[in-house]
């Protein structure tokens, strides 16, 4: 849910619920505007819509991974070849990537990864908690800058800023998408 105050929706403004459900499309719009040409991902419920949007886009090469660190290396290769890449993962995947982050950090390769958080808000699975707790610290420990968003409005602006920092200023950025924003996992 968003921080939008409750109230009747009018014709010009979408309801808070509608905005909340449209954030993947907003991120897609922002990333397309940033000229992202490759997207790599490990299947993730939180990123489902964004994965579908990219997969249907003939201008973007999507690569499904067996483990998240593969995408870190692919993004570096994409940049060597002149293309911008984005990597979608879940917070548990950050743990898989730690050594591979040395590649973008040492080479100042642009890195933009969007990380859906687990283990921090209404989490039902205790095994998700340790990596959820360690995600930000692990990223920062190896030199990846962390930006975080817990509301939809904040998320879209944050990804826009993160894309500029990554692709224009050669930074390595992980945007953490708070679990509260994604909503409780349905079983």
């Amino acid at each position: 849910m968003t921080n939008t105050p409750p109230g009747p929706a009018n014709d010009s403004a979408p309801s808070a619920a509608a905005v909340a459900s449209e954030w993947p499309a907003e991120l897609y719009r922002v990333l397309k505007a940033a000229n992202v040409r490759q997207m790599a991902y490990v299947p993730d419920a939180g990123h489902t819509t964004l994965i579908e949007l990219f997969s249907a886009d003939p201008e973007v090469v999507t690569t499904v991974l067996t483990t998240e660190e593969e995408g870190v290396a692919i993004a570096a290769g994409a940049w060597l070849g002149g293309q911008r890449a984005v990597l979608l993962m879940q917070s548990s995947g950050v743990g898989n990537c730690i050594n591979m982050f040395s590649l973008p950090v040492m080479g100042h390769f642009p890195l933009l990864t969007l990380v859906t958080m687990r283990g921090e808000w209404a989490e039902f699975n205790p095994w998700q908690v340790p990596m959820g707790r360690g995600t930000q610290a692990a990223l920062e420990a190896v030199g990846v800058r962390v930006m975080r968003a817990d509301t939809v409005e904040d998320l879209v602006e944050t990804v826009e800023a993160a894309a500029a920092l990554a692709y224009e200023a050669d930074q390595q950025i992980a945007v953490l998408i708070g679990q509260r924003l994604i909503g409780k996992k349905k079983w």
Partner: protein, 206 residues
């Protein structure tokens, strides 16, 4: 015995080719292919054959070489990309063979210089030295072509295919002697190597 029997060590025949000879012979016929190297001896082998702007050397990020090659191949579909790495590095990225097979790049060759040992860390026997056949794994994953090369004639034949169009990704294993030739060290400044590589492709250095 099965073809892939982990319980019987050293079932693979060790190679007799000298790795430097293999790499320098191969790179004479690179025909403008962009080259990415895995950390350790493959980086030294490629550097020893001649430092070039269109080489990208990895000094770390073990397991990343073939995937840097995939991202590059996807970004530059009109050029061929050649990844030269070692058996240990490729074994760490076992899943990358699945990822590359599914991605189906038609311009990516992975060459595994296989000495069946971890040469950087004390020459311990690797999985390929215990019978694992990376070419068979690549074929099972869905690579368009995969083979193990044991003679210089086979290496020559492979080099002749480097400029040919392919139906999908290819993986070749070259069995070499377990030796550590004198180190030939590429620049360790990853930013410098990145910038000159991109400049080679016509991208502005910034």
């Amino acid at each position: 015995m099965t073809d892939l029997d982990m319980n019987r060590p050293h079932t693979n025949h060790p190679g007799t080719l000298a790795r430097r000879d293999v790499v320098s012979r191969l790179l004479k016929h690179r025909h403008g292919a962009l080259v990415v190297t895995g950390l350790g001896s493959p980086s030294y082998d490629v550097h020893a054959a001649g430092d070039r702007d269109d080489n990208y050397y990895l000094w770390g990020a073990m397991g990343g070489a073939a995937l840097v090659g995939l991202g590059l191949a996807q970004a530059q579909p009109e050029k061929r990309v050649l990844v030269i790495t070692g058996d240990g590095e490729q074994l760490m990225a076992f899943g990358s063979l699945a990822t590359i097979a599914v991605a189906k790049p038609r311009n990516l060759d992975v060459l595994v210089i296989d000495n069946q040992h971890y040469g950087e860390t004390g020459m311990q026997t690797s999985h390929t030295g215990r019978g694992l056949d990376l070419a068979r794994v690549a074929r099972a994953c869905g690579f368009a072509e995969a083979a193990t090369l044991r003679t210089m004639d086979e290496v020559e034949s492979f080099s002749a295919t480097l400029r040919a169009a392919a139906d999908g990704p290819r993986l070749f294993v070259v069995k070499v002697l377990a030796e550590n030739p004198p180190r030939s060290l590429p620049p360790r400044d990853a930013v410098h190597v990145k910038n000159r590589f991109r400049a080679h492709l016509g991208f502005p250095v910034r």
